[in-house]
């Protein structure tokens, strides 16, 4: 399947073309908050006032794509937590008002599938509509669903995306579980950090995927995921993924790894980048957008621009450059990411 259009909201100027033209924001905060566009340009005020941040970002990235493309056969969204901030507001109201009169808005907006539902309602799209909430591999599951729909000839064009918001609730709980750093750390220094934990980020990344295409950013070849693996398990599922595509480890020319400055989980990326794929160019990305459970969707957005050569700043993301001996014009690019060492995902792209 092919990525033919894409949209991104992140802590960088990715909604416009400033980021891909070289404008990088240096951030030094405990969380990397998304830079949101002026939604009033395309979301009616009456609807916008009810939307939580996750819904806003999802509509902001998804609706322009739904409106720009006809005949979308399905909307598939991946989000681990959805509009968690509104969910907690609603739960707190139940306690605060002793299970009395409750306001409906927070409840309506808080369910993870509110985003895909709003996209369908606002875009007038009444086709297949589903939301995956599989923690750190929610986005990988959207790609798997899309691959299956195309393979079974049940779709020609799909809207697929991954998103997450920072809520006080998830930040505080994850912070207490030592997932985030205590100290302030900048985008420049994050990957050199030797302390535990990472930086919490948020964002929304949406894609138009088509079964066949002539003009496209990148091709998504395959996806694989595993929970609580050993390093040997990772090697096995990566080898299986490549074999399905008729490829070997040596055929991979570049890898995008989810290094996030967390000393606890660095060894996973070292293993894939240095031991399994030592002769590849290595890219990283979380120093610019932080970490969240569906951040692999940002990796796909960035990789699509790199493979399409539509980004002028790719040297900012390279931590090891190798001249692949292959003279083939076909490049195979692998994304490997995990969240907190639990759920691990591989996504294989090509140009």
């Amino acid at each position: 399947m092919y990525i033919t259009d894409l949209k991104c909201i992140s802590a960088q100027e990715t909604y416009s073309d400033k980021f891909i033209k070289g404008e990088l924001n240096e951030i030094k905060e405990v969380t990397y908050l998304a830079l949101e566009p002026n939604y009033l340009e395309f979301i009616p005020k009456g609807l916008l006032r009810r939307m939580g941040k996750a819904v806003r970002m999802g509509i902001g990235t998804g609706l322009p794509l739904v409106k720009a493309h006809n005949n979308i056969d399905g909307i598939i969204i991946g989000t681990a937590n959805g509009g968690l901030e509104d969910c907690i507001k609603f739960l707190n109201q139940i306690v605060e008002y002793d299970e009395g009169t409750l306001t409906p808005t927070n409840f309506v907006q808080s369910t993870p599938n509110a985003i895909a539902g709003q996209l369908a309602l606002m875009g007038g799209n009444h086709s297949y509509n589903i939301t995956y909430t599989n923690g750190g591999t929610s986005f990988e599951n959207t790609l798997l669903d899309a691959l299956l729909l195309f393979e079974e000839n049940n779709a020609q064009k799909l809207l697929v995306g991954g998103l997450e918001e920072i809520s006080d609730y998830n930040y505080n709980i994850d912070f207490l579980a030592n997932k985030y750093k205590i100290e302030l750390i900048s985008t420049t220094d994050l990957l050199q950090s030797t302390s535990k934990g990472t930086i919490c980020g948020e964002g929304s990344n949406m894609f138009i995927l088509e079964k066949e295409a002539v003009n496209y950013y990148a091709q998504v070849l395959d996806v694989e995921q595993i929970t609580y693996p050993t390093q040997e398990d990772l090697k096995v599922i990566l080898t299986q993924l490549l074999e399905r595509q008729g490829l070997k480890l040596e055929d991979i020319s570049s890898v995008m790894l989810g290094y996030n400055g967390d000393e606890n989980h660095k060894s996973w990326y070292d293993f894939v980048g240095n031991e399994l794929l030592p002769n590849t160019t290595l890219y990283t990305f979380k120093q610019f957008v932080g970490d969240y459970r569906t951040v692999s969707s940002f990796a796909v957005w960035l990789s699509a621009h790199i493979l399409n050569e539509s980004i002028s700043t790719k040297h900012h993301f390279i931590i090891r450059e190798k001249n692949n001996s292959s003279t083939s014009e076909k490049k195979y690019h692998l994304i490997y990411n995990h969240f907190d060492g639990v759920r691990h995902g591989f996504i294989l792209l090509s140009n």
């Binding site: 009456g46 916008l48 006032r49 009810r50 009395g100 009169t101 409750l102 306001t103 409906p104 808005t105």
Partner: protein, 88 residues
């Protein structure tokens, strides 16, 4: 000292803006006799539930009868009248 009618209307407008998250609006933008569900403010059925919740939480007034609600939630004046008559 008891609250005057104008003070109550101002307080109610602030609550309406807060509960309904009316972006960029101030109390001065809502006229006392302006229809809440008319073309200018453009409130809808979900907002009517929010207003019922507002009256319960802020003034201890419960509206259980939908027919009664239609007569109360017309504009700021009608809501203020109802609060003054029923506030506990």
């Amino acid at each position: 000292m008891s609250q005057t009618r104008d003070e109550l209307a101002l307080e109610l407008k602030n609550h309406i803006i807060e509960y309904l998250n009316l972006l960029d609006m101030t109390p001065e933008d809502i006229k006392n006799d302006e229809e809440l569900f008319g073309p200018d403010l453009g409130l809808d059925s979900i907002d009517s539930v929010e207003l019922i919740v507002l009256l319960d939480r802020e003034y201890g007034i419960k509206i259980n009868n939908p027919t009664e609600g239609r007569k109360i939630l017309i504009d700021v004046n009608t809501i203020v009248d109802y609060i003054l008559a029923n506030k506990k």
